[in-house]
């Protein structure tokens, strides 16, 4: 593949198609076995990120490497190879920020920043080194549409000044908007290079997967509330679970059978706290959680599971699944009671093994076998496993946090389809997600969690991306007034 000066090139591909390996080689984290890279007509063989940076290649990772307890300037100073005084550095940060519309106060603590602002810290850290090539790995996965627009402006400015940007994302719409070229990888090979503006999102996705994929569909029609709600959350209050979290204030919502209820908003606005309270990992200070009229708010996660309330948290390894345990053990982790996998505490491993195989088979989890450790699976496959494990237990209510975060298009489509099928069978599905397109696709009703408050719900019909963006803003204004 080739990159020209000043172009914004998208790197597209499913999980495991080799995108990360490719950019890691460019950034000096991985050594190629064969072949070579030529950068500005010279052989380029970085052996570590320092060399890559000094040659002029910088990278913004999907996961931020920032210290919450340090200020913006201190964080940036840590990543710099040349040592400047703090005052010059602060001045540089402010200047760069202004020049690209990425304003930052260098003296703020990173812990107090939103995800979008944290990303700015990472970007400015890169820009201060005046890179020739800037690699961005899924930069918008944590941003509101408004924040993403600001980012796109900044990237376009950079490109006009001659910086080349290599942009990795699963969001095909934004690639069409931003990028002038797209290189598509499949199974470790470049399969196509095209102009994304000339292709539809569907066509791009099909090039990635190599087959055609359909958009998720509901078989039933979009629901409207009928009868009594199956799942009710009333006036939940909870303190922030970490010093950088957000407490919940009087969260209430109701979901009827067969409905998908979407909760939007940017992570860090109480999403983790809400998930903990709903799952029973933490108990609320006040409020009740009613399933079929019975209050579960004081029960532990297993008691809730027995009554039909199941969960798939955001973080896959270390929360939803134990990385160092195999898929059989991970099946037992949450399905022990509902699937009757043990009797008097004695675990029936053969029954558990067949359950794990059922998950792998029904949810198309790509793995050599159920004996493999969870951490050996790619993100998308492990997510399919986690969602499958919960859905195959026939939940009355399934609560999912960020169901397709970092998952490729095909896997994301299949996960969304399964969630919608589950609702069609009469279950309640609550989807917490910061991906607005996803919420619009799967939900019947949407509300936004922002600053620990939940906005009024809106029927998805006629709702646009911008409306949801405004809902995020609106609930924040409410919080300010209060």
């Amino acid at each position: 593949m080739e990159l020209e000066e000043g172009e914004i090139c998208a790197l597209l591909g499913e999980n495991g198609s080799g995108k990360s390996t490719l950019v890691k080689m460019m950034y000096g984290l991985v050594k190629p076995d064969d072949g070579k890279m030529i950068f500005r007509s010279k052989d380029y063989t970085p052996t570590n990120p320092n060399e890559a940076r000094s040659a002029g290649i910088a990278m913004v990772f999907q996961h931020f490497s920032l210290f919450d307890a340090l200020t913006v300037a201190e964080n940036i100073a840590l990543g710099m190879s040349d040592h400047l005084s703090f005052s010059t550095l602060s001045k540089n940060i402010e200047e760069k920020g202004k020049a690209y519309g990425l304003a930052l106060n260098p003296d703020n603590l990173v812990g107090s920043l939103s995800a979008g602002e944290r990303q700015r810290v990472e970007i400015i850290r890169c820009l201060l080194q005046n890179p020739k090539i800037l690699i961005m790995d899924e930069p918008t996965s944590v941003l509101t549409p408004q924040e993403a627009d600001i980012l796109f402006e900044a990237l376009k400015n950079l490109a006009e000044e001659g910086t080349t940007i290599l942009y990795i994302s699963h969001k095909l719409e934004e690639i069409k908007e931003l990028c002038t070229k797209a290189t598509i990888l499949r199974a470790g090979k470049v399969v196509a290079t095209c102009n994304p503006e000339e292709k539809s999102a569907r066509q791009l996705a099909e090039m990635m997967v190599g087959t055609s994929i359909g958009a998720p569909k509901r078989t039933g029609e979009v629901r409207s509330h009928e009868g009594t709600p199956l799942f009710q959350v009333k006036d939940i209050e909870k303190d922030a679970s970490s010093s950088f979290g957000t407490g919940l204030q009087k969260i209430s919502f109701e979901v009827w059978q067969g409905e998908v209820f979407g909760i939007g908003g940017i992570a860090g606005n109480g999403q983790d706290e809400l998930m903990e309270v709903l799952s029973g990992e933490a108990l609320p200070k006040k409020g009740s959680i009613l399933l079929d009229g019975k209050d579960l708010a004081r029960l532990n996660p297993n008691e809730r599971r027995k009554r039909g309330l199941l969960f798939a948290p955001e973080q896959r390894v270390g929360h939803a699944a134990a990385g160092e345990m195999n898929l059989i053990e991970n099946s037992y982790l949450t399905a022990a009671d509902r699937k009757a996998l043990s009797k008097y505490g004695i675990i029936n491993w053969s029954k558990t093994t067949s359950f794990s195989k059922e998950i792998i088979c029904h949810f198309d989890v790509r793995t050599p076998g159920s004996e493999n450790l969870a951490q050996s699976l790619s993100g998308g496959n492990l997510q399919k496993f986690v969602i499958g494990r919960e859905i195959l237990q026939n939940p009355e209510v399934l609560i999912v946090n960020q169901p397709t975060w970092g998952v490729d298009a095909a896997a994301a489509a299949s996960i969304r389809q399964k969630l919608m099928d589950l609702a069609d069978q009469g279950a309640v599905v609550v989807v917490i997600s910061q991906d607005i397109d996803e919420l619009l696709e799967v939900s019947d009703y949407i509300s936004v969690l922002s600053g620990g408050r939940l906005s009024r719900e809106r029927h998805v019909k006629g709702l646009s991306r911008e409306d949801i963006g405004l809902m995020m803003g609106a609930s924040q204004e409410l919080a300010l007034e209060a």
């Binding site: 570590n48 990992e281 973080q315 134990a322 949450t334 505490g345 004695i346």
Partner: protein, 359 residues
């Protein structure tokens, strides 16, 4: 320049081979230490590791003695390993061992000279209870005040040693002992004596209990929900909460099993080989068991082998003291070296070493 690179998954090969390598390396380093002490290193190592097993004059006595010494190590290590698997670090088994002996022994001495069949079982239960109660102090402090169980359990060892000294000199002192410190000898009290099962071997009920505990642990970890929860807790606290494990109950369970089995080892030892509560009743089994647990990779059968090895160093060490005049401290240093070397070699299973030219 040597560079250490973290492996994605700990190497299976190195995890299995390091205990063996650690033993070999300990022999070499230990040999150097013995040489510095002015002893013949080959002979010293041979006396410690070889003679008890294969010397025709010694092995008939030494072989069953290895089992006797290994029994308390196995019992304690098995109990500790459950906590270690769940990242709950009970370092105070020595104290729980002492309290088990004091509780169990106290019951027997209170009933003396009554003879009845139920005295021995009652003693055993009290011994277990003593160990559990002593372990509950760090457990409750951890739950209530988030204290560090490593520090609390360790420091309680020294408290229990003072308690042992106090009762040996006071409350439980043998009234017929003409003023000598120490309790009555339970071997001379039929209802409370844990005698040898096979004449001349010294093998007592504790050895049987140790065997049972190995299989019990295997079953618990492999086939029981509680064992599964222990392993999940060892993965991360977050995932254990998600799996519905009550973290406080887990702390209590792990410290209770560790303390209970240490207490059991204590009362078996008191009613069997030792016979008498005295100031020097404890000989460090509670600490050696930590080495056993890690040397055996927290695996029940691995720990059994490790306990046999450590027992061998005890017996062999005594022989070396007796035959070669090696100081007792040198033997303890050798045992400590084993853990030290093992832990440093664990690095190899986590990291790979690469040689890189200086940039």
């Amino acid at each position: 320049m040597l560079v250490f690179e973290r492996r994605r998954q700990p190497s299976k090969f190195w995890t299995t081979i390091t205990p063996v390598l650690a033993v070999v390396l300990t022999m070499i380093v230990g040999g150097i230490m013995f040489a510095l002490l002015g002893k013949n290193p080959v002979e010293a190592i041979r006396t410690i590791f070889w003679s008890p097993l294969f010397d025709p004059n010694l092995s008939a006595y030494a072989r069953p003695q290895i089992l006797v010494k290994a029994a308390p190590l196995v019992l304690i290590a098995i109990g500790l390993s459950i906590g270690f698997k769940a990242n709950i670090w009970n370092i105070g088994a020595e104290g729980q061992y002492i309290m088990g002996a004091i509780f169990g022994g106290g019951v027997a001495l209170a009933l003396y000279p009554l003879e009845a069949w139920w005295i021995f079982p009652l003693m055993i239960l009290s011994g277990i209870l003593g160990g559990i109660l002593w372990a509950m102090l760090p457990a409750l402090l951890k739950i209530k005040f988030r204290t560090n169980e490593i520090l609390v359990s360790l420091m309680l060892v020294y408290v229990s040693e003072h308690f042992l000294a106090s009762v040996s000199l006071g409350l439980l002192r043998n009234p017929d002992g003409i003023g000598f410190p120490g309790s009555r000898n339970l071997q001379q009290y039929a209802s409370a004596s844990n005698g040898e099962l096979f004449t001349g071997t010294g093998i007592h009920l504790g050895v049987i209990a140790a065997f049972v505990s190995i299989f019990a642990l295997y079953g618990l970890i492999k086939f029981h929900r509680i064992g599964f929860q222990v392993r999940v807790t060892g993965q991360s606290e977050r995932i254990s909460r998600f799996a519905g494990v009550n973290p406080n109950l887990m702390v209590i369970f792990c410290l209770a099993t560790g303390g209970g089995l240490a207490g059991l080892a204590g009362i078996f030892e008191l009613s069997g080989p030792t016979g008498q509560l005295s100031i020097d009743f404890n000989v460090g089994y509670g600490f050696t068991a930590i080495i056993v647990a890690f040397l055996g990779r927290l695996n029940p059968f691995g720990m059994a082998l490790a306990a046999l090895l450590m027992a061998l160093t005890y017996i062999g060490g005594e022989l070396a003291q007796f035959m070669l005049n090696l100081p007792a401290a040198a033997i303890q240093a050798l045992q400590g070296m084993l853990l030290f070397i093992l832990l440093s070699m664990d690095f190899l299973s986590q990291y790979r070493i690469k040689i890189r030219k200086l940039a």
